[in-house]
């Protein structure tokens, strides 16, 4: 519960200044093989981004089975993990992204 609460606090600070200035969103989705969870995560992510960030985002999918060494850099343990590289600060969201509300909270997209 601490996570979302802190996220909300940060969000509140950001909204006082104004809307997020940086239009570019860089998202990285870590998967390990084309599993059902991975596919679900990818389609969920695409849907949310199309709804909320149309035209402002880029998704990079990293398959750790093909590039195992890449997992270390972002400290990936759980699969699937979505990493928000930009805008900073970096955020991590784990799971198949089926809970859209939580994804929005995790990405700081949720309006209070």
């Amino acid at each position: 519960m601490i996570g979302p609460a802190m996220a909300r606090r940060k969000k509140a600070r950001a909204t006082k200044v104004g809307p997020v200035p940086n239009p570019m969103w860089e998202l990285r989705l870590y998967i390990a093989g084309r599993t059902a969870k991975a596919m679900a995560a990818l389609s969920n992510l695409q849907r949310i981004c199309d709804e909320r960030l149309a035209g402002k985002y880029r998704i990079e999918v990293i398959d750790l089975l093909r590039n195992p060494a890449l997992g270390r850099g972002d400290q990936i343990l759980a699969i699937p993990t979505l990493v928000r590289k930009l805008p900073s600060p970096m955020k991590k969201i784990i799971g198949d992204l089926s809970n859209a509300q939580r994804v929005l909270v995790g990405l700081d997209l949720k309006e209070l």
């Binding site: 996570g3 802190m6 390990a32 759980a78 699969i79 969201i93 784990i94 799971g95 939580r102």
Partner: protein, 598 residues
């Protein structure tokens, strides 16, 4: 791999039906003493859980397991750290003499620091830990690892949501590690009422080791217990262990069996008369107790033995718990036992420390380590009674038994001194180890006549004829001197009483000698008198003898002269004279001739 696992499982169940069991393969743990405890090490290709409270040495255990495994047993390892970074880990083992960075370069070790910040993570649905698997697999492949350490994997529970998923994923991880044939050490923090906070012990069925760090009476002791070890016999007691500059060492119990060899070789006590009392000295490899109240000379007797041992070019390890090394050297030098030259040439190691610096177990462990390093022929512990004060009475006996057994197995002669409390029964030791002792010298003080005199008894000495005489000794500038024994009406005479007796004895001897001289003089006089009388008699006899001889000769002459005269007379008368024995013509003729000539 799964098939292989199943077959080993069935063989395990077959064990009950008395078909020869498949022996469990072991991997040397790299922890000094633990392999003896577990008869070979950790289960090879399986997972071992090492758990305990904070600061009990879990991480060091895991590190040593990997580092020593790689360096000493040629098994590369993967260290997956959830708490400490590579730099911190490297710094931890520098003191053990291992360079982690170099090991990583040489592909003996792969270190992966897993850092997960809880507040960065939002859970949005089903997930698994495939990312961890991938990283582990990568690390294992990069060095061809045979060993894996996960330290402390439980911290995942605080950094990742959804414990239910974590549990099932960890279960899968352990199974996977087993399938990969990795000998794995997993550490876990002790929880309330459980071995680990998250109950990891439920998932790990092969081997669980519990480390404990306890403080009793302000003295801390670390203990290790093998909680379970499937398919092997293991000591189930708590064993003290030590963390020092060489890592973890557990006090092993190599010889709880009584099957050691007995030597009949003698070791000189360094005191000539004591050797005689024991019929040649102590047996090599036995345990000698020298007990006595304060100031009876226990240390002196120990120093004699140490000097005698060093003089033969053997090594001696002397643990002093009362005096500093310099003080001991000075004090022994003052009674003519020069130990300094042996400390100088390295045959004598004096280790002085205060008993209360650490607990008994730790002391015994350090003794253990020092013995392993120096391989001495003699170990002196002076005194053991102080050491026992540093531990709980309950534990100390078993600890001492273990130490004694260890020393005996190595064939090391051991001498303990023990201080007996004034007033208490002198044949009791504070230690209660008397039954473990082979030779027991009891030093005592006899008070009386305004003085204290020291006496020595051999209470027992297994396997050798020994004197039952209470003997007085004194500490001179030549060391311990055993004195002649004087028995008085109420026992052995000591001190002034002995001196008085000695003086009386000397007077008696002088008297006897005088008497003998007198008798000898008398005998001379008698002999002279006899000789005189004999001379007189002889004189008289020789006079008589000469007279008789003369008489006899006269008579012979007279007898022989008669016929010649008769012949002469007959010739003058021209008469025929016939000799009285005429039958003997020859005789006659002779006399005739004689007669003619004259």
């Amino acid at each position: 791999m799964r098939v292989a696992l199943r077959s080993s499982a069935t063989s395990r169940s077959r064990k009950i039906t008395r078909i020869p069991p498949l022996s469990l393969k072991k991997a040397p743990s790299g922890i000094a003493g633990l392999d003896e405890l577990t008869s070979g090490g950790l289960p090879r290709g399986r997972t071992t859980l090492v758990c305990g409270s904070a600061g009990c040495g879990k991480t060091l255990f895991a590190t040593e397991f990997l580092v020593r495994g790689a360096v000493e047993h040629g098994e590369p390892g993967v260290f997956m750290s959830f708490e400490e970074t590579e730099e911190e880990l490297a710094a931890n083992v520098v003191s053990l003499g291992f360079d982690l960075r170099q090991m990583v370069e040489r592909k003996q070790l792969a270190i992966d620091h897993v850092r997960v910040e809880r507040n960065e993570i939002e859970e949005t649905g089903a997930f698994d830990l495939e990312g961890l698997f991938v990283r582990l697999r990568l690390a294992i492949d990069s060095v061809g690892a045979k060993r894996v350490a996960l330290d402390t994997i439980e911290s995942l529970f605080s950094s990742l949501p959804n414990p239910a998923i974590l549990r099932s994923e960890l279960r899968r991880l352990f199974r996977w590690l087993k399938e990969q044939g990795m000998t794995t050490v997993i550490t876990g923090e002790q929880g309330a009422g459980t071995f680990t906070r998250q109950g990891l012990e439920e998932y790990i069925s092969d081997c669980v080791i519990f480390l404990d760090h306890r403080v009793n009476d302000q003295i801390s002791t670390r203990r290790l217990r093998v909680v379970k070890y499937r398919g092997t016999t293991h000591g189930s007691n708590e064993y003290p262990f030590l963390i020092d500059e060489t890592g973890i060492s557990v006090l092993p119990i190599t010889s709880l069996r009584l099957d050691r060899e007995a030597s009949s070789e003698r070791v000189s006590t360094g005191i000539e008369r004591l050797d005689e009392m024991l019929g040649g000295g102590y047996f090599k490899g036995t345990t000698i107790l020298c007990s006595g109240s304060a100031g009876t000379g226990k240390t002196s007797i120990a120093a004699h033995l140490a000097r005698a041992t060093c003089a033969k070019g053997k090594r001696c390890l002397y643990f002093a718990f009362e005096e500093s090394a310099a003080q001991l050297l000075r004090n022994m030098g003052s009674i003519g036992i020069d130990l300094g030259r042996y400390t100088a040439n390295g045959s004598l190691d004096l280790v002085a420390s205060r008993p209360y610096v650490q607990g008994l177990e730790m002391h015994l462990l350090s003794i253990h380590k020092a013995v392993n390093q120096r391989e001495p022929a003699l170990v002196v512990i002076d005194p053991i009674s102080n050491l026992v004060g540093a531990g709980s009475q309950l534990g100390s006996n078993s600890m001492l038994t273990r130490l004694l057994d260890f020393l005996k197995t190595r064939g090391i002669t051991t001498l303990f001194t023990s201080l007996t409390e004034g007033g208490a029964g002198t044949e009791q030791t504070a230690v209660g180890i008397s039954s473990l002792i082979d030779t027991w010298l009891m030093l005592d003080v006899v008070r009386g006549g305004g003085e204290r005199n020291r006496t020595l008894d051999i209470i027992k000495s297994r396997g050798m004829a020994h004197s039952n005489q209470t003997t007085e000794y004194k500490i001179s500038d030549q060391g311990v001197l055993l004195l002649d024994t004087y028995l008085g009406p109420s026992g052995v005479l000591t001190g002034s009483a002995r001196l008085a007796r000695e003086a009386a004895d000397q007077a008696q001897v002088a008297l006897q000698e005088e008497e003998i001289a007198r008798r000898q003089a008398l005998r001379g006089i008698r002999r002279n008198a006899f000789d005189g009388r004999l001379a007189t008699l002889q004189g008289e006899f020789s006079v008589e003898d000469a007279e008789l001889e003369r008489d006899i000769q006269e008579r012979i002459r007279q007898r022989d002269g008669a016929p010649a005269a008769r012949d002469a007379m007959a010739r003058s008368r021209h008469a025929f004279a016939r000799a009285p024995d005429a039958g003997n013509g020859k005789h006659n003729g002779k006399h005739k001739e004689k007669g003619h000539r004259t």
